[in-house]
Amino acid sequence: MKPAPFEYFAPASTDEALSLLAEHGYDAKVLAGGQSLIPMMNFRLVQPSILVDLNNIAELAYIREGDDGGLRIGAMTRHRQVETSPLAAERAPLIHVAMSKIAYPQVRTRGTFGGSVSHADPSAELPALSLALGGKFRLRSQRGERWVAAEDFFVSLFTTVLEPDELLVEASIPPMPPRSGWSLQEVARRPHDFALMGVAAVVTLNEKGVCDGARLVFISAGDRPIAAERAAESLKGQAPSSKVMEEAAEIASMQEIDPSSDIHATAEFRRHLANVLTRRALEQAFQRAAETKQEG
């Protein structure tokens, strides 16, 4: 199918984009990489009357080191840029490794970090990973600028705290504390499909090898990325063992996530997968944390 007609603006700067959003607000839809929006427009499921295209805004495409030693990623940075960035691999390996799981090569050359986060698809990796790593987002409008933590950003299915005149311009991903390990585990019908279930784990050990902190965030497990806080809490103060990992997996999969049934998987199968994947993720994450401890 072909998209319905729309009015098109291609601002060359963030300021220009914000002024267009201030003027058109609710009527406008922001076009970033377009790899989710354009299919929906082609199906005529979305028919925006105004499209504000960010692709000419060069100032929004960058990967930089953050002051905190983490990573700052401009909203219009392509997945492919992150995938091939040594800095990203070093500072945010969890995000770097996820890139090859996002759709296909041709989609990754267009798809953007900011676009994926703003789209807030609960099946997508970047919202969940931003949350797992304690990331935050810089939102700008003509009214000003604000930073919103990932845990406060995602509201529900395809919905965030972004106001109609607001633009997500940057993501800040802090570094993981020392002696941290991470893992991303997914089950997808085909490797490049949206995951039936996925979990990102970030764990930190103290000097004695006891878990100091953990984060578990699930993909395709609810109407937004789902952080399993009680499961993470249950790991704290524990030496990693299969028993504690199994317990955490049980809590997360049975009590904290809220997966739905669709044509690809029932909620029951998704909970089962969440349980399996949590155990695998924790095992790998603790393993990695222990290895960094030896190195350090």
């Binding site: 199918m1 319905a4 377009g34 299919p39 082609n42 296909y104 090569p105 989609v107 490797p191």
Partner: protein, 158 residues
């Protein structure tokens, strides 16, 4: 009448100036405005990969871009590879390894492979499979395509 945009675009080394409605998909623009019908359209939702072309050397779905977004950019389509009398080494390899049957998905595969081999001249089978994961083919079962890419890599390494 809907507003149109003036667009300057270089396709396969030729510069074109055209006026288009912003909603015109790049795939339709290439095929119907420029008559470059080698680029095929199999789904219009960005999954099949038949419409893949190169923009500034990088593979993109031309059904998931508006033509206006290619303003000022360089596009390479299958017509920009070799000619019938002088096939590009990738095209030669696809003929020799029987990497195509109906040939509908082939243009998108050739452009994708071109960018891939430029970035990775000596790929493993697994890397080739990954690189082709966004190009569906219903005829070949991919095996001869993968062998063609291996052969093309060999030819291009010389």
């Amino acid at each position: 009448m809907p507003t149109t945009f003036d667009l300057t675009i270089t396709v396969n080394g030729t510069r074109y100036e055209r006026s288009v409605e912003p909603r015109t998909l790049l795939s339709d623009f290439l095929r119907h405005n420029l008559g470059l019908t080698g680029t095929h359209v199999g789904c219009e939702h960005g999954v099949c990969g038949a419409c893949s072309v190169l923009m500034d050397g990088q593979p993109v779905r031309s059904c998931l871009m508006f033509a206006v977004q290619a303003h000022g950019h360089e596009i390479t389509t299958v017509e920009g590879l070799g000619t019938r009398d002088e096939l590009h080494p990738i095209q030669q390899a696809f003929q020799e390894a029987h990497g195509l049957q109906c040939g509908f998905c082939t243009p998108g595969i050739l452009t994708t492979v071109k960018a891939f081999l430029e970035q990775n001249p000596n790929p493993s089978e697994e890397e080739i499979r990954e690189a082709l994961s966004g190009n569906l083919c219903r005829c070949t079962g991919y095996q001869h395509i993968i062998e063609a890419v291996e052969l093309a890599a060999e030819k291009m390494r010389g």
